[in-house]
């Protein structure tokens, strides 16, 4: 067994430090070591996007990152965006517009959509579809996911205009 390395991460604003084998996949670190079970494992082969997290300002599939590569990174998971006591606009809009059915893809969808809206605050429908192409959903047929993201963008922009 290769020797363990010392890893430092900032996850949802909190500093984390631990020893880990370099080959540990970041998705396992988050789910099993840190108990953040929001990011899901759908395919484990880099295709479905259920494991999407935000790492250093980019949407990343956590099943395809070694914890060693992430050492020093700033990570946000769905838990860091909002929760039962205060839903993020995207979470609220997914609920309002039926952007989820079984919910398995939803944490990855919302975490990805959050980064998409950071980069492009007023996307067209086509830009939303293109920007969300790394996230698969087996239930909804995507229509309501796209609607929810567009509604969240509209609300965020209205809020900004009012301020």
């Amino acid at each position: 067994m290769a020797k363990k390395i010392h890893v430092t991460l900032t996850v949802n604003g909190e500093a984390q430090e631990f020893l880990a084998e370099p080959r540990e996949l970041l998705i396992h670190t988050l789910r099993e070591r840190l108990g953040l079970t929001g990011p899901h494992i759908g395919c484990e082969t880099s295709h479905c996007g259920a494991c999407t997290i935000d790492m250093n300002g980019r949407s990343v599939k956590a099943c395809t990152v070694f914890v060693a590569q992430a050492d020093g990174a700033d990570i946000t998971t769905i838990e860091g965006l909002g929760g039962p006591d205060g839903l993020h606009v995207l979470q609220r809009m997914f609920r309002e517009h039926h952007g989820l059915q079984c919910g398995y893809c939803t944490p990855g969808m919302i975490t990805r959509a959050h980064r998409l809206l950071q980069e492009n605050p007023a996307p067209t429908e086509e830009e939303v579809r293109f920007g969300m192409a790394g996230n698969l959903c087996r239930c909804t047929g995507y229509q309501n996911i796209v609607k929810a993201i567009l509604a969240a963008a509209a609300e965020l922009n209205a809020k900004e205009a009012a301020e």
Binding site: G49, A68, M132, G134
Partner: protein, 284 residues
């Protein structure tokens, strides 16, 4: 899907990275974005004992655009390529192609160096670089050398790069005229069933320059000199395009797989090339 154990190294400059490869020998592999290598390690098709992570090597970053050429560091990601407006003005073909690679998450981390060094015929950048007549700079223990993209590929996962060399930089002459990257895939995020990169220029009504490369239609990218020559001096009409497609079909060697049988791939290759030529010509 647990990858094999390895020791991890994160050098902060090129000399240390090259030194590590020299010291660790063929037990070591470099890792860039990891989006080809990690899937291979999960399948245990690659079991490197040491991984040398290039993420902190500053010399491998950055894009510089000069009047007649562009230089791109190996660790530049596909999303960096897409976002760079100066690059898009100089060589719009690169943005057009990069937008057709994988999906947003993969493009944030997948690097141009990893894409061209990987040696997988499914990768889009190798054919693109052959079309553009790019050259790759390789740095090893005894210094640096440049290899033309058109000479770099030897076969499946076999390239001109020695185990102790790092691909550091890509240099591309700025082309004139029209361009197109056309890719047929089963779904967004899929590798090509067939893809074509085309550069064309005109003098009056005739083709004065043509460069054509095809992706995922052989065990390596195919720069079809004969297909380009079939267009030279013509009006780029139906007859010339038919001749170019016939020449291209003589240069490719697709294999049957889950993207379809050989006859289908040859058919798609012809359709894709015709579309790419038409779009490139319309942009001259």
């Amino acid at each position: 899907m647990i990858p094999p154990a390895f020791e991890y190294h994160r050098p902060t400059d090129l000399a240390s990275a090259v030194g590590l490869l020299a010291q660790l020998g063929d037990e070591a592999r470099v890792i860039a974005g990891g989006h080809s290598l990690i899937p291979m390690m999960k399948l245990r098709m690659a079991e490197p004992a040491h991984l040398v992570d290039l993420q902190s090597v500053g010399e491998l970053k950055g894009i510089t655009v000069a009047s007649d050429h562009v230089q791109i560091g190996a660790m530049v990601t596909q999303s960096d390529l897409i976002a760079h407006d100066g690059l898009a003005r100089a060589i719009p073909l690169i943005r057009e192609a990069a937008l057709q690679i994988a999906d947003p998450q993969v493009r944030y981390v997948g690097t141009i160096g990893g894409n061209v060094a990987n040696g997988d015929p499914g990768n889009d950048m190798p054919g693109l670089m052959q079309c553009l007549d790019a050259s790759f700079t390789l740095t090893g223990p005894s210094g640096s050398r440049d290899v033309a993209a058109r000479d770099f590929y030897h076969g499946l996962y076999s390239t001109d790069r020695a185990d102790d060399e790092i691909l550091t930089r890509i240099t591309i002459p700025v082309p004139a005229g029209g361009y197109a990257y056309e890719k047929q895939k089963r779904k967004i995020g899929d590798y090509a069933t067939a893809a074509a990169a085309v550069l064309l220029n005109r003098r009056g009504g005739t083709v004065s320059f043509a460069s054509i490369a095809m992706t995922n239609l052989s065990d390596m990218p195919v720069w079809s000199q004969a297909a380009g020559e079939a267009l030279l001096g013509t009006d780029c009409g139906t007859e010339a395009v038919t001749a170019a497609i016939a020449a291209m079909l003589a240069d490719i060697d697709p294999q049957a797989d889950n993207r379809g049988p050989i006859a289908f791939k040859r058919h798609v290759a012809g359709v894709i090339l015709a579309r790419a030529i038409a779009r490139a010509w319309s942009r001259t």
